[in-house]
């Protein structure tokens, strides 16, 4: 067709000139620049200048030694397995329940009227206020820790997903309706894909909250896990253990977030956002 030759695919959008990404010439190492500077400051302030004593802030060498000691004794693996397992189960359960309820509330006015006010009221309760009740109702075993992580995950996922579903473009819903879709088929083929950017944002926020609540749960009543390692270091006046726990929490949090970002990039390749 003649008009085909006259039309061109739309050019990809770019950031305005003043906002362009200007690399520092470090390539892949660029994101490591700030952590590197922190490490240098850490070495200088502890091992070189001696501003902090080992009981306040041990140097990197001492921390690395403690880490190896924990690995050799098998303790670190035990703590890591406990924390990662709690995140997997608590985050999984909280995110799944939040997605189901958000879909219901987002799609059905009746479900919204029935459930949303109550959920929003519960959301207003500071989540850590549940801790005494969870201990009272569920004891000090695994279950209250998993429930606390699930609570932490639930609300960011629920709020983002339900808002995303409610804001799905009505015109796209009409396209689905026009092609005979309704109910679950409409949800699967139009609503959830259209709301997936909001859902994935909710999942990333929920994952961050999950780590926060994990530490809270393990600080209170646990015999293993990175939160326990932290409180154990405090009780035994071993700052090196506390630093090991904090560094590992930072690394694990970053790794899981990065994994979710990877999923986001794969799933939202269609999104017409700016790509710098």
């Amino acid at each position: 067709m003649s008009a085909e030759a006259t039309e061109r695919a739309a050019p990809a959008l770019r950031w305005p000139a003043g906002l362009t990404h200007r690399p520092l010439g470090l390539g892949w190492a660029e994101p490591l620049l700030v952590p590197g500077l922190v490490l240098v400051a850490w070495v200088l302030s502890t091992s070189v200048l001696g501003w902090f004593g080992p009981s306040q802030l041990p140097g990197p060498a001492l921390v690395a030694e403690s880490l190896l000691e924990l690995v050799r004794a098998g303790d670190l693996q035990r703590h890591l397995a406990a924390s990662v397992g709690r995140i997997a189960l608590g985050f999984g359960a909280g995110a799944a329940l939040a997605t189901v309820l958000a879909t219901l509330v987002g799609l059905s006015r009746r479900a919204e009227r029935l459930l949303d006010p109550t959920l929003q009221a519960i959301r207003a309760i500071p989540s850590l206020a549940w801790v005494p009740f969870l201990l009272l109702w569920l004891g000090i075993g695994e279950v209250p820790k998993l429930v606390l992580v699930a609570i932490g995950t639930f609300f960011p996922v629920y709020v983002n997903a339900s808002t995303g579903i409610r804001n799905v473009d009505r015109r796209l819903l009409e396209v689905g309706t026009l092609h005979g879709l309704r109910g679950l088929r409409l949800a699967r083929r139009i609503v959830l894909p259209a709301a997936s950017p909001a859902l994935l944002t909710g999942l990333r926020l929920g994952l961050g909250q999950a780590w926060l609540f994990l530490v809270a749960a393990e600080l209170i009543a646990a015999s293993k896990g990175l939160g326990f390692l932290l409180v154990d270091g405090q009780n035994s006046a071993r700052a090196d253990l506390m630093v090991v726990a904090i560094v590992l929490l930072a690394l694990l949090g970053k790794t899981t977030d990065q994994a979710l970002r990877g999923v986001e990039r794969r799933m939202l390749g269609w999104s017409d956002g700016f790509r710098a």
Binding site: M1, S2, A3, E4, T6, E7, R8, A9, A10, A12, R171, L172, E174, V175, T177, L178, H179, G180, I190, P193, A194, S196, G269, W270, S271, D272
Partner: protein
């Protein structure tokens, strides 16, 4: 044999507004292409949405081939003012979305999609996502999707308003070719008298509030027609006069 469309004493009022239709009658014969013109806000788009089953009339009846429309019918395809492509599907998958579920997963479905993309001049663009398509290309994909099920009734709500003149002419030619081949019944909403005179077999101007038919005229000769074709001049004058009267009496907005 294609299906006709019949609106009988249709009433429609949006909450808080004046009645849009109050006993409107309109009949489109099977295989006929009717262009519907009128001032902005006179209810043209609502009329096709009623036929599409996307809205319900407050009173009266909308029938497609004898079936009262209460929800979208499989036999009816629609193309909107804007492409409304699903942004997470590439052009080919958007066209396939218009097919029946079983066909979507079959080789026959793939062949149909390829043929439709070729027909709208986008043979090579099947793998492009909507955000990478120009406005004209996206509207072509939307036309291919609307034609995918070979609908017996095709509703077009100002479909070519946003594309350039060259692309518009080629889309109109494609529409004429496909609808003539399949004897599709077409209801085309447009604000462009020349478009109506070029592609339709009948021209209906609606106006006033509640809407009534101000002009209903057959367009002489086969389509597509050139603007200087004999007999079109007088009809153009009558259509513009009816539109002018509709604009003076009709509201600017719904």
């Amino acid at each position: 044999m294609s299906l006709g469309v019949r609106l009988e004493r249709v009433c429609k009022t949006y909450r808080g507004g004046r009645p849009l239709f109050s006993g409107l009658d309109l009949e489109v014969s099977p295989g006929e292409t009717v262009a519907l013109l009128g001032a902005s806000g006179c209810g043209k788009s609502t009329l096709v949405r009623l036929v599409a089953g996307l809205e319900r009339a407050d009173g009266g009846e909308v029938r497609v081939g004898g079936t009262a429309v209460s929800r979208p019918l499989r036999e009816v395809g629609m193309m909107f003012q804007e492409p409304r492509l699903l942004p997470w599907l590439d052009a080919a998958a958007n066209v396939a979305f218009g097919l029946d579920d079983v066909l979507q997963r079959s080789e026959e479905g793939d062949r149909r999609v390829s043929a439709l993309l070729a027909a709208v001049g986008l043979r090579e663009a099947g793998g492009l996502l909507p955000h990478a398509l120009s406005g004209g290309m996206a509207q072509r994909v939307a036309l291919a999707r609307a034609l995918a099920r070979a609908p017996e009734v095709l509703l077009l709500d100002e479909p070519f308003g946003a594309v350039d003149a060259l692309a518009r002419a080629s889309l109109q030619d494609l529409l004429l070719e496909v609808t003539a081949r399949n004897r599709t019944t077409v209801l085309l909403v447009t604000h462009d008298v020349e478009e109506a005179l070029r592609v339709a077999g009948r021209l209906v101007v609606v106006g006033d509030r509640p809407a009534r038919v101000l002009l209903d005229a057959r367009i002489p000769g086969g389509s597509p027609r050139t603007p200087d074709r004999a007999g079109l001049g007088e009809l153009r004058v009558r259509a513009l006069a009816a539109l002018g009267s509709a604009r003076r009496s009709g509201p600017a907005t719904v």
